[in-house]
């Protein structure tokens, strides 16, 4: 045990003092993240797209709110009112004034106020559509939230005036981006408060209720960071072959057999050492992804650790399969390159699996990196699953066991 610990420590010291190794295993993935992140950055969505559903477009109150929001949006320099919206809003306004809910003076005054003041800058892009369209757009990630005004909204408003209970308004929001969701809730909550006061000069008759809706909304960089981690683990594991083959080639493994050191201790220490580096890479990649691109890694850290270790071990075992058959260090490196380059590009780690053409699907299924990438994506950024996690784990384990079996059978110390 003392020998194993000493060997592992020695391997870590070797690594830390090897600038090339440090670059390839730590700096390179980070560079990759930075470069790809900058190359493929999604356009900056500085505003929030909110969809509005008017279940009854003739409902004066609902239409009124919608138009008010639209007006604020346009005030920010948006496009001109769409024609049918203009009519809608005109009618709603007339009826509201007629019913005494709003005085035309107050309204104009408020509008002017808001146009002038700083704090009125609502970063909202409002659009109106049917319920199905709006919710679908939300799910696709084209909208950040959807406000639904029910068909009897005006009626409910009336009752609220009379009785004092606030009217619940359902607002669906995209929960896959927690930070953005929080800001959104603040903005919309504030918006409704203002409406409240504008309409009634009474504190609360509207009670927005926020409903989370899971949306598939990954930026390219969110998709890539787990992929980069998966590729790093793959390379870490496969290139283990080179060290062993080089030692064997130079007869050092053979000569070590003349010492009481069990040769398995040497291999074990190499494996342990690589697992330590895997953890280091994971932490570094996550930190850089967060600091630079705000890639949020969920809090499934236990699962993450599990898949990092499983993935690393699987590829280390595959590295030893290569080492079992390669005679020289050069040939082992060549074999590893021949394996890892295609795997990198055919495993759907750098672009969504949906983009892979049908004829290539069998290749996807055959490659272990696909499963590792899928698992890491699910665990790290809650991407939609290509295969369930347990299946990813199972396939990786199968690769691990088969690789171990082959290396045990064929690996020679000389």
């Amino acid at each position: 045990m003392r020998a194993l610990r000493a060997l592992t420590v020695a391997a870590v010291k070797e690594y830390v003092r090897d600038r090339m190794a440090l670059f390839w295993t730590l700096a390179f993935p980070i560079l990759f993240i930075l470069i790809f992140g900058l190359l493929f950055s999604d356009p900056d969505i500085s505003g929030f797209r909110v969809g509005v559903v008017l279940e009854d477009p003739e409902d004066m109150a609902a239409a009124g709110f919608y138009c008010q929001m639209e007006a604020m949006d346009r005030d920010e320099g948006g496009e001109a009112f769409p024609a049918d919206d203009r009519e809608l809003c005109q009618r709603a306004l007339e009826r509201a004034i007629a019913a005494g809910y709003v005085s035309s003076d107050t309204l104009r005054l408020r509008q002017q106020e808001q146009a002038g003041s700083e704090e009125a800058r609502l970063p909202l892009y409002i659009s109106r559509d049917s319920r199905e369209e709006v919710l679908e757009a939300l799910k696709q990630g084209d909208l950040a939230a959807a406000i639904v005004f029910p068909a009897d909204f005006q009626l409910q408003m009336g009752r609220a005036f009379a009785r004092g209970d606030p009217v619940p308004i359902t607002i669906y929001y995209d929960a896959s981006q927690p930070t953005r969701a929080q800001v959104l809730q603040g903005v919309l909550g504030g918006l409704f408060e203002r409406f409240d006061q504008m309409v009634t000069q009474r504190p609360r008759i509207l009670a927005p209720q926020f409903q989370p809706l899971q949306a598939e909304h990954l930026r390219t960089i969110d998709y890539m960071v787990p992929g980069i981690l998966a590729v790093s683990l793959m390379q870490l594991g496969l290139f283990a072959a080179g060290t062993v083959v080089s030692l064997r080639e130079r007869q050092i493994l053979k000569r070590l057999g003349a010492t009481p050191l069990p040769r398995s201790a040497l291999v074990t220490s190499q494996v342990l050492f690589r697992l330590i580096i895997a953890v280091l890479q994971t932490v570094l990649i996550i930190v850089v992804g967060w600091l630079v691109f705000r890639v949020e890694v969920g809090n499934r850290l236990g699962m993450l650790a599990l898949f990092v270790f499983l993935g690393a071990l699987t590829f280390i075992a595959m590295g030893y399969v290569v080492a079992a058959f390669a005679r020289t260090e050069e040939s082992s490196v060549a074999i590893v390159q021949a394996i890892q380059f295609p795997m990198m590009f055919l495993s759907g780690v750098y672009f969504p699996i949906d983009f892979v053409p049908d004829w290539m699907q069998p290749v996807l299924y055959a490659l272990p990196l696909t499963y590792l990438g899928d698992a890491l994506r699910q665990v790290m950024v809650e991407a939609s699953a290509w295969k369930p996690l347990w299946l990813d784990g199972l396939v990786l384990s199968a690769w691990l066991i088969v690789s171990l079996a082959i290396s045990f059978r064929f690996f020679r110390w000389e």
Partner: protein
């Protein structure tokens, strides 16, 4: 009998090739024992069998009273083996490598003691990949000594070293023997065998062709001195010099002719006289004692180093 190593009728075949063909010898305690022979003679194979790295096809090997075949681990714990460790851990310092190896054994010498034994004090904190060839070999000797072995095995320890580094290593080896260990080394440098070894086994084609102290070996085969020279002028091949006085043997190696003679003065006088008469000139003249190289040449008809 204080034999540290006993080898009896050792055989190892690789298909048709007899790498080791019936070798027997013993190594006594406190000796520096050498196996001298050309590359491919079977030295490395023999050493590996004794160290327990290879299995012999037949014969018996006993190290420190233990049968290598049956108790390899016990043997490994008590012998010291030279390793090319710089390749294994290039970025560890000398001290770190020594401490690493010390962790493999329950009991070991202190790192500083080992460093002092091989005169690497100035390089104790240097990375192994920055050591010179000679320093690396000294380190590998130190590593062989970590577990305070009773015998260490050195396989061609000074190959590739410049003369000064070689001499430093010889000093270290002698210090190791003074500290009480037995040394078994293989070499193809005749000078090394002559200088260092108490006894030498001359080996060729898997067989021992002579085994004794260097002086005894030379004395047994050569009373004579060797006269070496080159001939300018007429074709050297057309000369027959055996008839010169006191010459026992003539050898030719390219341009160099070697005469073995019992009486140097007589032979030289006759040689120069003939040269004047027939019109050749003697060049690069060198008179020396016979060496193990000459012994090998005499016994096998070949040089140790081709």
């Amino acid at each position: 009998m204080s034999a540290v190593v006993e080898v009896r009728d050792l055989c190892k075949y690789y298909g048709e090739i007899k790498a080791v063909d019936g070798i027997s010898f013993t190594v006594g305690r406190g000796e520096i024992f050498g196996m001298l022979g050309p590359n491919g003679a079977g030295k490395t194979t023999t050493v590996e069998i004794i160290e327990g790295l290879r299995r012999a096809d037949s014969g018996q090997v006993t190290v420190l009273g233990l049968d290598v075949r049956r108790q390899p681990d016990a043997v490994k714990a008590r012998i010291g083996v030279q390793l090319q460790t710089t390749a294994l851990f290039p970025r560890l310092t000398v001290r770190e490598v020594l401490n690493l190896f010390r962790s493999f054994f329950p009991q070991s010498r202190e790192a500083d003691e080992l460093i002092a034994m091989v005169n690497l004090q100035e390089k104790a904190n240097t990375l192994t990949k920055e050591l010179s060839g000679g320093q690396r070999q000294r380190l590998s000797v130190a590593l062989a000594l970590v577990n305070q072995p009773e015998i260490i095995f050195l396989d061609e320890p000074t190959t590739g070293l410049d003369p000064q580094a070689r001499r430093s290593l010889w000093e270290v080896i002698e210090q190791v023997r003074s500290a009480g260990a037995t040394v078994f080394l293989t070499t193809h440098y005749m000078e090394e065998a002559e200088r260092l070894c108490d006894r030498v086994a001359v080996i060729d084609h898997g067989r021992i062709i002579a085994l004794d102290s260097p002086e005894a070996l030379i004395r047994a085969h050569f009373q004579e001195r060797a006269v070496e020279f080159e001939i300018n002028g007429q074709q050297a091949a057309s000369f027959s010099l055996e008839d010169l006085p006191a010459v026992t043997q003539v050898r030719q190696d390219g341009k160099t002719i070697t005469l073995y003679t019992n009486d140097v003065e007589a032979t030289l006088a006759a040689l120069f006289e003939r040269g004047q008469r027939t019109g050749f000139q003697v060049d690069a003249l060198h008179v020396r004692r016979a060496t193990l190289e000459d012994v090998f040449l005499k016994l096998t008809g070949r040089r140790i180093r081709d």
